[in-house]
């Protein structure tokens, strides 16, 4: 694979860690508390744990694992909605595999399938559309998940369904956007994150301009990063150098994939098909204004919520689950009393324990429960 091995070179990783140590030492003298850098994206969280990068950092530098994992912020009520649809005898419910195990109020889509619902895992929304073509007597619903990374693919699939006039295809739209959520986090008075490692594949679509407010209004540096270990270390070093110099800028470490202006065709597809939802619920974080997408009126025919007159479920997060505090960097996973006890990968209570991009699942897999005590 192109440029994968090169960005995993252990020798260069050591060189980067040495530089990170130098900068950390210089910053350390001037600060009472550690420097906290939030990796926004779950893909970055995964790389950090998989390569043990968090264990190699100097004592005064910490990662906080941010809310950029769409599966981890799926609200329970939406899972209940999905399960209710999947149980309709006329429906084939299709979803990315990641969402199958997310617990709702009374179980997951996987459990619904075991109970007889026709739930099928697909790799692409195009595969869901192909199922609709092949099964004209059934209704095929696609659970449309993800940030701007996957929003264009759902949009282009809707445009295709429209062009082919496929009447038995619809989506349950759970696409979300990261910018309003970052803004909401930054506005919280006790939000102590000093800088950001920015999401690489969201930025591939939206470009780097939308982050400008973080540097300008909130005086935090943000470096858009790739997903290999050297990308993360390099980006961390770039963030620390800005902090050391007292600067706050948006930088792009992932220029091999991310263009400053983003991807025009993808942005055009998003704008053509979706509009902003007034309110959108995030698991652990609650309602965040303007952070979700829904189909425009013109495409309402493909909206499963309208087609099946769905009654949305709203379920509160469990009190002993501290997913929200983990997502905002206030605590580390083992500080949640459910960690490794009521909540573990084979019986997840919170969604952060489900996906390998969730901070709690990654922590459990690579650090174990030993550190929970």
């Amino acid at each position: 694979m192109r440029f994968v091995k090169e960005f995993r070179d252990p020798h260069l990783a050591e060189a980067l860690l040495a530089r990170i140590n130098h900068v950390a030492e210089r910053i350390g003298h001037r600060r009472a508390r550690p420097v906290t850098v939030m990796e926004v994206c779950g893909g970055h969280t995964h790389t950090i744990f998989r390569y043990g990068l968090d264990r190699r950092l100097p004592a005064n530098i910490e990662f906080a694992h941010g809310p950029g994992c769409p599966v981890c912020v799926l609200p329970k009520g939406r899972i209940e909605d999905a399960i209710a649809l999947a149980h309709r005898p006329d429906v084939i419910f299709t979803t990315f595999g990641d969402a199958m195990r997310v617990p709702g109020g009374r179980g997951s889509l996987l459990q619904a399938r075991a109970a007889g619902a026709d739930v099928r895992m697909v790799y692409s929304p195009l595969d869901a559309l192909a199922l609709a073509r092949a099964n004209p007597e059934r209704q095929v619903v696609f659970f449309a998940l993800g940030f701007e990374t996957t929003a264009p693919s759902t949009a282009l699939t809707i445009l295709r369904a429209g062009a082919e006039n496929i009447g038995n295809f619809s989506i349950m739209c759970q696409h979300i956007t990261i910018i309003p959520t970052l803004r909401a986090l930054l506005a919280q008075p006790d939000f102590t994150v000093d800088g950001f490692i920015g999401p690489g594949h969201v930025s591939m679509v939206i470009g780097t301009d939308p982050y400008a407010f973080i540097a300008r209004d909130f005086r935090r540096p943000l470096v858009v990063a790739g997903f290999e270990p050297l990308d993360i270390l390099h980006s961390l070093l770039m963030v620390l150098r800005q902090i050391e110099a007292g600067e706050a800028r948006v930088e792009n470490q992932y220029a091999r994939v991310v263009a400053a202006q983003g991807n025009k065709a993808a942005i055009a597809a998003i704008e053509r098909v979706y509009e902003v939802r007034a309110e959108c619920e995030w698991r652990g974080l609650g309602q965040i204004a303007g952070s979700g997408l829904q189909l425009r009126a013109e495409w309402a025919g493909f909206d499963a919520e309208k087609r099946f007159a769905m009654q949305p479920h709203h379920l509160a997060d469990l009190e002993q689950c501290r997913c929200g505090d983990v997502l905002t960097g206030r605590i580390k996973p083992p500080q949640c009393q459910s960690f490794g006890r009521a909540c573990a990968p084979d019986h997840p209570a919170g969604a952060l324990m489900v996906s390998s991009e969730g901070a709690c699942a990654a922590y459990y897999e690579y650090h174990g429960v030993g550190e929970a005590a």
Binding site: H46, L126, T149, S153, A266
Partner: protein, 93 residues
């Protein structure tokens, strides 16, 4: 779903529908290439290009020049390499 996989475009399957075949580590699959097509260029010009594939869609071309540039920056941080370079050049002098 959020992690793209790098693959190489091997053939155009349907010019009209913007579908191409991509080889991802030996696995071949049809992907939608609308987001990486360049206006005014025939799709055939994409054959051979490295792209990042997300859920069946090529979402970005992998820019070789930028990748090499980043790798150069990283290599320059390697102090040992710097020392070795210095040794080499001083031996030549």
């Amino acid at each position: 779903m959020c992690l793209g996989i790098p693959g190489r475009i091997t053939a155009i399957v349907d010019e009209q529908a913007m579908l191409a075949e991509v080889d991802v580590s030996g696995v071949r699959r049809q992907v939608d290439v609308l987001c990486v097509a360049e206006q005014g260029q025939p799709l055939a010009s994409l054959v051979g290009a490295w792209v990042l594939v997300h859920v069946g869609f090529a979402m970005s071309r992998i820019d070789e020049a930028e990748a090499l540039q980043t790798l150069r920056v990283l290599a320059s941080m390697d102090e040992l390499a710097g020392e070795l370079d210095a040794m080499r050049t001083s031996a030549q002098a």
